[in-house]
Each structure stands twice: as C-alpha cells, then as structure tokens.
C-alpha cells in the first residue's frame, strides 16, 4: 500500500483538540482498525492534543499545533507538535504509583502509551513532538514481521 500523509495546522484551542480527536477516529477507521482500536487511537490523539494545546502552547493564540497522520500500510503514525516550552518526559511521574494515584493530573502520557504500540517524545527548539504508532496487525505481529 502506498503511504498516505495528511497534516493539519491548528490553533491552540479546545476546538482543535476535538478536531484532532475526530480526525483520528475517521482516519483510523479508514485505515482498517476495528472499533475498539479506533477509540484507543482517537483517545491517545486527544491526550496528545491536550498536551500540546494546554501544557505546551498554553492556549497562546500565536502558537500552533500541528497534527500529522501517515498511513504506511502497516501502521498509522501520528505526529503532534507544539511550540511550547518543551516537555521533559523524565520529569513526568508514573501516575499509577500509590503516591500519585490520587493526583488530579498527569495521566495523559501514560494513557497514550497504554493505547498505542509505540510513543516517542522529542524535544524541539522550541516545543515538543509526540509520535505515536499503532500497528495494523498489533505489536506482536509487527515484530514477527520485522524480524523475518
């Protein structure tokens, strides 16, 4: 299958978060994912978009969020970029440990990692780039294929 890539540049608003989520749902279905995986993908995209708009760009009207979707045929690769101060992932605590369990926030990246097969976070200058991968046949199948 030929790789297809679409990219959107969006304002730092809640409306953009909803747009990113809805687009992810549509493109995941188009890529052939079942209903449960479409939901997981769109939830991960929502969390990454919230991260970009709220924690990254802090709703700054002069800063944009970029959301790119690439269907490689074997996976859906989603990249979300902001123009904020940059996210130091080493400082994000595990939200499932007893001391963090009752904290109000800090679950976004954990959920992205739970819902997707691969999550990479890269610091830009300025900003943060989050790349999330969902394999069409699931992680085990993908690794089997890759090791052949």
């Amino acid at each position: 299958m030929t790789a297809k890539r679409v990219s959107y540049t969006l304002d730092s608003s809640l409306q953009s978060v909803n747009t990113a989520e809805e687009t992810a749902q549509l493109l995941a279905a188009k890529a052939g994912f079942d209903e449960d995986n479409c939901l997981r993908i769109s939830m991960a995209v929502r969390e990454a978009a919230v991260n970009a708009v709220l924690h990254g760009n802090a709703y700054d009207p002069n800063k944009k969020m970029t959301v790119a979707f690439e269907n490689t045929g074997r996976a859906l690769v989603i990249t979300i970029t902001d123009e904020g101060r940059g996210l130091d992932v080493s400082k994000v605590p595990d939200p499932t440990t007893p001391e963090n369990l009752l904290k109000q926030s800090g679950r976004g990246i954990f959920l992205m990692r739970s819902f997707m097969d691969e999550v990479r976070i890269r610091l830009l200058a300025p900003g943060t780039e989050i790349t999330m991968v969902k394999n069409v046949s699931g992680p085990a199948e993908h690794h089997k294929e890759a090791s052949k």
Binding site: E47, L101, S105, R107, G108, F110, L111
Partner: protein, 114 residues
Amino acid sequence: MSMKSMTRQVNGITIVDLSGRITLGEGSVLLRDMVRDLVTKGQRKILLNLGDVTYIDSSGIGELVSAFTTVRNQGGELKLLNLTKKVHDMLQITKLYTVFDVKDDEAAAVAAFK
C-alpha cells in the same frame, strides 16, 4: 454531546445522573462545580451515576479523583454507579478502579452508604 447532570435524593443520598462526555473544558468544569456546590450545601453522601457517560478523558478521570478526595476530605463518601465499558476500562488502566467504591445496582449502592 456535552455533559449534563441531574441531581435527586434517595434516602438521604444525593444521586447525580451524569450523561455525555466528561472531558477537558465544559464537562470537567461542570462536574467540579457541581460536586463543590453539593459539598458546600452540606451534602456528604454522593453517588455519581455514570451510566450515560459516553466518553471520558484524562481530565475527566482527574475530576472524578478530585471529586472523590473533596468529598472524603469533608468526612463524606462518594461512590460510582453503572460504569460504562469505556469508563470502566479507563479506571482499570489508570489503576483507579479499586480506589473508588463502584456499584452496579442503585438500591445496593444507596444501602452501602454508612
């Protein structure tokens, strides 16, 4: 669909029927304000009926946690009723399922308050 809430009283327990999406923005703010309002009015036994909640994100989960601790810090109890699969899965993934007292029968939930 944005979040909606209806409040009713059963045997001294405040039951809040929530529907729609509990997400960053309108839904999570509505939930926060509603719980704070109930606590301010002296309601200490609150049952959140999530049976018609179609979607929840990390902000919504955070608001459930915040509601739980707000009520508990006032010496009260907050329980959850009728989790949909989506909400149930989110609570399982985030390891919060055992933190909350979760019920699937309203009468049993009401009776479980101390």
